[in-house]
Amino acid sequence: MNYAVETFDLNRSFKLKKAKNKKENNNTPGKLIALDNASIKIHQGELFGLLGPNGAGKTTLIKILSTLLLPSSGTALVDGVDVVKQPDQVRKRINMVSGGEHCGYGILNVRETLWMFSQFYGIPTQVAQARIDVLLKILKMEEFAKTKIGKLSTGLRQKLNFMRGFVCGPKIMFLDEPTLGLDVQIARDVRAYIRTWMKENPERTVLLTTHYMAEADELCDRVAIIDKGKVMVCDTPGNLKKTLAGEAVFRIEVPLAANGMETFGQISGVKQFAYEHKSHLGRTELKFILHDESAISNVTEFLSNNSSKIVSLSKMEPSLEDVFVALVGRGLKDENGSQN
């Protein structure tokens, strides 16, 4: 079996400065563990998702795979090539796009910027220009081809950065939160292009990190859920959701509640519990994963005993986010429903 990416017990930690005074936390550990024995295998031609909240270790893994960072220990192979021992060979096979980031020089226009980066990959100018034309068309950027990038909007600049990654013709693409901060339409264009690009050549592989669960669900062949540097689980989205088949997922909205959230997890029959405050609606959304559907009566009884009025209650199909909640015992608070 040919793997596009393989990691074996990959570890990465960063030294932290110790707190200087007593007001700060004196128990600050000396290091931050970003990756903790992370092992994954990504097949050639696969669109693989790496899911996790902010700080889970997703970007650290991508930086190691793209030769920007050395692991503290462990091995990482990209297309069978060791990222530590043969970084030059790895670079010929990969590219990377980080969402929310910009590239290039404000003084160059869009076409020139894409051409410049293509040259760093040795692509003949004619080939590069043809690829640029295609990308501009697919991503609806034709009218901005001669616009200086300093004058582009944030979303368009991100789109440019996305094109920059693909114009260089990589075999394996690392997409680190590629739709971060993009509006719905641009994010849709980006996702559509990823699919098109994958279909064009079965050897192409994408490693996509995201904390938008719906995006991963829609795009990925397989996903790994990562939290605090550990790979918790790895399977197809369908199989992961099936792990909750015997369980029931309920969403309950109550008036905005500030305290006592931890007690909900102790209700009999509750496997996992997560919540999200929606201040603008004056509500708190509670998500319960129950061992059994019948346990919902325990939940409603608990709520009424605690004088919590139920605004709405609904049973839900399990999502990847529920898988995450079931695994780590908390929700992806950063997401705040901003999936696009």
Binding site: I107, I149, G150
Partner: protein, 284 residues
């Protein structure tokens, strides 16, 4: 009114702290102290060597003292001008914070002034060190007992105000120019270096350039500073004016500069907003 004053002070104080952090916390205090001393001393030594190469020490010390003191105080122009005008570029392209600073309900003038305070403090130290070095190592004839301190302090304060006005003017220009705005600031400082008689009496300049010199408040500022420290002037062009007359001319030209600087800053700021250049990225 009181609230406004409090807000102004708060803005200046916060910007000042930020400026100081940026200036000083990149290294340990020892290295920082060396850094703060080496540049001004080196800059003065260039002129010292030029003087000795030509005169071999045989000419009177008056011209040397004139050059040395003028050059020492000119450091305010180079550093404070840069400290204020560079803020636009630094906040825009490096920290990419300009949009948040710009939309804050504070006066940009006060923010820019605040950011320049660190440079003012450091330059004052550098000037003191340079003058002390000149007195001790180069035997520059300065008598600490005969310095006209009130005139010196007054002149330095007005000088800082003049340079702040120039800094704000350049900050305005930086809003619409690219990466090379550091060269613009250095270049403008070069214009004053040439025209204000920082390192020679303006008498040596061509007549047409002397007219420009006489329009610039920094010319009078440098003359007053020299008179306060050295007790005399060797400039025939400015020598005819009394201290009081020079102060009046300096204040008059400063007032015109302040109005001009304000007008230019506002006009360019308007252009920058019109063309969406407030938070542009131009680096290359």
């Amino acid at each position: 009114m009181f609230e406004n004053t409090k807000d102004t002070i708060r803005t200046i104080r916060t910007a000042g702290k930020l400026g100081w952090a940026m200036e000083s916390n990149w290294t340990d205090p020892f290295l920082f102290a060396i850094y703060s001393v080496v540049r001004p001393i080196a800059s003065s030594l260039i002129l010292v060597v030029m003087y000795y190469v030509i005169t071999r020490g045989k000419t009177s010390l008056d011209l040397f003292a004139f050059i040395y003191v003028g050059n020492a105080f000119f450091m305010y122009v180079v550093n404070v001008l840069f400290g204020i005008s560079w803020v636009i570029h630094d906040d825009r392209e490096h920290y990419q914070m300009i949009r948040y600073i710009y939309i804050a309900p504070m006066k940009m003038y006060y923010y820019l002034f605040g950011r320049g305070i660190a440079k003012m403090v450091l330059t004052t130290l550098a000037v003191i060190i340079t003058i002390a070095f000149g007195m001790l190592a180069l035997k520059i004839p300065i008598n600490l007992m005969t310095i006209n301190y009130p005139l010196l302090i007054f002149s330095v304060l007005v000088g800082i105000f003049i340079i702040t006005c120039l800094g704000i003017l350049l900050a305005g220009i930086s809003m619409v120019t690219a990466h090379h705005s550091y060269a613009l600031t250095e270049g403008i400082a070069g214009l004053f270096y040439l025209a204000c008689g920082a390192i020679y009496p303006i008498d040596i300049l061509p007549v047409w350039l002397q007219y420009i010199s006489k329009l610039l408040p920094l010319t009078y500022w440098l003359e007053l500073v020299r008179r306060a420290i050295l007790g005399k002037s060797i400039s025939t062009t400015l020598g005819g004016y009394s201290d009081f007359q020079l102060i009046l001319i300096m204040l008059g030209t400063t007032l015109v500069l302040a109005m001009f600087s304000n007008y230019i800053y506002r006009s360019i700021e308007h252009i920058a907003r019109k063309h969406g250049k407030i938070d542009q990225l131009t680096n290359y």
